[in-house]
Each structure stands twice: as structure tokens, then as C-alpha cells.
Amino acid sequence: MRNMRTLVATMAAAGTCSLALTVAPQAAAAEDDMAWVSVFHGVPGLTVDVYANGDELLPDFEPGTLTDPQEMAAGSYDIKVFAAGDDPDSDDPAIEKKIDVPAGANATVAAHLDAEGQPQLTAFVNDVSDLDAGKSRLTVRHVAAAPAVDVRAGGQPVFEGLTNPNEDTAEVDAGTVSADVVLAGTDDVAIGPADLDLKEGTTNIVYAWGSAEDENLALKVQTLDGMHSDPASVPAGGNGAAAGANSTDAWLAWSAAGAIALAGGVLVLRRRAGQQG
């Protein structure tokens, strides 16, 4: 039972409801083999109950909802997604998949449509490695029932030919960009434009989800923070004028050093003189 973990999931968009329950992985994990897991619901029109290894993880989970990362034991989880209210013992799950959560990973499990519109589950590992100072990480995941797309920022393609259920990542200068999603190789806007606030030191994961056919394509953004780095240095000098302005102090300091050296030198000389004398 050591590996039982309390999992508190908070659902942001559907009002706020909290729950606490324990879920253990099928394969026992060491005490420190933990992972951070978020769950994204990207199947339009279907409120669901999510079960992990037979225990209810998320009841009445609404489309477009993303949970905060929760610490869970790493290991293998049998994930079943039922239409809300279905009986997990007698009804068939809408989606079922075994998900491996590697130790130390930050992962998002997405329930979404495949390119043809069939519900499925995909586990993505989130890149939370450190960024250079001033940078932000932009990841786009294609989890929509739609063909290949290009993602543009400020009108310029950032990712091209992205297909379901794949992702692409880039490190970009921090700042706000206007992003949109177009059918690959065209200017036909499928989603957006939307302003993305790419804060420095954060990983921003954009889910393109929904269905082109049902005209409910949308974007969902997951932001993970804490990947910032410090600037390498502070080059705050010019031509040395301030060193000159401060030359009295500096001269005194260097003179002191010289005096000590001189004293040392004299001492050495005296000693030598004594030995010979």
C-alpha cells in the first residue's frame, strides 16, 4: 500500500470540483519513482467518467477540460473512459488504453479524436527542460479530426505539415504572438487567430482539438512554468570612465597591495642579508 497515492484533480473550466481518491499502478513503483500527470479531454460532445486501473479518476469530465498536473506513481495504468454515468462493470468503455507513465516524466494523457473522428487516448511527454533566459517553449499537438495543418505565428509558419496525433516543439523568444492554424500548404484558416502569451521560462502546449467536419475545432493551452534560466551576465560598463572617476580609491587599494609586496620584498632581502652577514 506504500505506493497508493492520493490524487486530487481539479477541473478548471467546468467550475471547480475536487475529488480525492487513491490509484495504484499495476506494476509496483519505487517510492521516489513519481511522475506528474495531467489529463485533457478533447472529445467534443461527450461528458465522461475516467477510470484508472478500475478506480474512478475523473467523474463527469467535460470536453475542453484540462486538469492540473498531479503527482502519481510511475508505472502502467489501464485507462478506461466511459460515457458519464455508465456502469464500468457492465458497459463498454468509449475508449480504453494501457498507458505507461515513466518515472520522473511530466506527461499529459489526452482523450481525443483521431484524424477520422474516432475517440482515442494518447499519452504525451511534456518537455519541461530548462530554457535559455528570455525564451519560451511552444509545443503544438494535433488531436483534432482534421487533415494535416500548418501552425503560424504572426502570419509566419512555425510548424508545417503536422498530423494527428503528433506534436512539434520550438523554443521562441518570450512574448505574445498571434497564432492560427491553417490547412497544410494553404492560407485556409481552420482555427484562430488567437493571442498566445508565451511567458519567459514556460512550456506552452497548444492542443488543436475538435472536429473539422462538425466545425468545432478549437485550441486549448496548457502552460507549465519553472523552466527559466538566469541571464549569463550583466555587461553594464562603457569606456572605463567610472574606473577613472573612482581612481583615488583604486589607486589607494593598489598602493596598499604594492606596499605589502614591498614590505615582503624587503623582508626577504633582510633575511638574505642576514644569512650572508
Partner: protein, 226 residues
């Protein structure tokens, strides 16, 4: 006669001793004595660095639908607009700055201005180190506003005027001189107790090695607002 028996030894010995003294001087304070002196041994910034890390070591997440009006948003920082240390006559406008292409902190070209490292906390924030920085002098030889940091003393009042809120008030607690390629890691801390960190360059000046070799770092702690 004994003193003149080794006339050629004298410069060599002196040179060696002088080199040693210089080395010791550099090792002791990074050349700190050649420029502003240090004070305030235990800085708040150091305390911040020693403080336990924030409860969650994991990345936190915030999520919202892109572009949705009224989406939840983290508290916006209140940008600083003016830095004043009245006792030493420092009064400089402050502009937001970021990172240059070399990954160094960007410093305003105009030495009369101070920059605020906008990716870190703002002065008056709840936690972390708010960094204001400025050139000590310009390429053409004007002295910068932040050369006044050479004159500050423990207890000097520091006022940061802000765009939205009332001025944030601090009191100088420490000054350190560090090699410019070895800034203390707490300098840009985003967590821990809130401090104001003021940075400019400090001697020695070596044109062959990129100019100033040190940074002077003045730490100021918040004064309770009554």
C-alpha cells in the same frame, strides 16, 4: 656592500611579491578593494537563496482557452518607472529590459537610464529578487546614473516609483563586488523573500578583457509600507 651583492634579485623578488599580493587581492574579493567596498555580510538575497524552496518543486500549470476573454490570468507585474536613492543623488528613469542575443541581461544604451529585468519579479512583488541594472559609464565616457551605487551605505532609502501602485520602498542592506562572469545564483531568484537588487559594473577596468571585470551588487530589503 651586502645589499649590492645581489642587485638583480631585487626586482625579481618584488615582482613575485607584488604578483602574489595581486593574486591574493583578486582571490579575496575579486578585485573588490579596487572600487566600491563590500558591506552587509549576510544579505537578504543570500537568505533568500538559503530559504527552503517553494513547496512544490514541480512545474505548476495554468490553463485557459487561448484568446478567451476573462480567462484566468496570473497577477501582472507592476512595472517600475523610476529609481531614486536621494542621499546619493540617484534619480533615474527605469525601462523594461530583457536578454540580448548572447544570453546576457540587456542594459539600456543610455547610461542615464536603469533597466528592469522584466522576466523576473518587479519591485514590490511578493517574492524573489527584482533586478534593476544600468551602465556605470557610456562608450563615450559619460558617467552612468548607477555609478552612485559606489557611494551608497547600509540603511540608505531606495524608492522605486511604479506604473500602477504606490512607490515601493527599500533600505540598502548589503553591497557585494563579484567577478562579472560569476554572479551569485540568488541574483535573479524568482522565489524566496523579496529583495531589490541593483547592479552595475565595477573596476578593475581591462580594455583587453572586455572592460570592467566586476559587477557591484547592491541589495535592498523592503521597508514596511505604513
Amino acid at each position: 656592500m651586502t645589499r649590492t651583492t645581489h642587485p638583480r634579485r631585487l626586482p625579481a623578488v618584488l615582482l613575485l611579491a607584488l604578483a602574489l599580493a595581486v593574486l591574493l587581492n583578486v582571490a579575496a574579493g575579486g578585485g573588490g578593494s579596487a572600487g566600491p567596498e563590500e558591506f552587509g555580510g549576510s544579505t537578504a538575497a543570500r537568505a533568500a537563496a538559503e530559504a527552503p524552496p517553494p513547496a512544490a518543486t514541480s512545474p505548476k500549470a495554468e490553463s485557459d482557452t487561448a484568446g478567451a476573454p476573462g480567462a484566468p490570468e496570473a497577477a501582472r507585474p507592476d512595472p517600475p518607472e523610476r529609481l531614486r536613492i536621494d542621499r546619493v543623488g540617484l534619480d533615474a528613469p527605469v525601462v523594461p529590459t530583457g536578454v540580448d542575443e548572447d544570453g546576457a541581461a540587456e542594459v539600456p544604451d543610455d547610461p542615464a537610464r536603469a533597466g528592469w529585468y522584466r522576466f523576473g519579479p518587479a519591485p514590490g512583488a511578493e517574492r524573489g529578487s527584482a533586478v534593476l541594472l544600468g551602465h556605470v559609464d557610456s562608450r563615450t565616457g559619460e558617467l552612468g546614473a548607477l555609478v552612485a551605487l559606489y557611494e551608497v551605505r547600509a540603511g540608505d532609502e531606495v524608492t522605486v516609483e511604479r506604473r500602477h501602485g504606490t512607490p515601493a520602498r527599500f533600505e540598502v542592506s548589503a553591497r557585494r563586488v563579484v567577478p562579472k562572469d560569476d554572479l551569485p545564483k540568488e541574483t535573479f531568484a524568482r522565489a524566496g523573500p523579496h529583495v531589490l537588487t541593483l547592479i552595475t559594473c565595477a573596476p578593475p577596468y581591462d580594455p583587453g578583457r572586455g572592460g570592467y571585470q566586476n559587477n557591484v551588487i547592491v541589495t535592498a530589503v523592503p521597508v514596511s509600507r505604513d
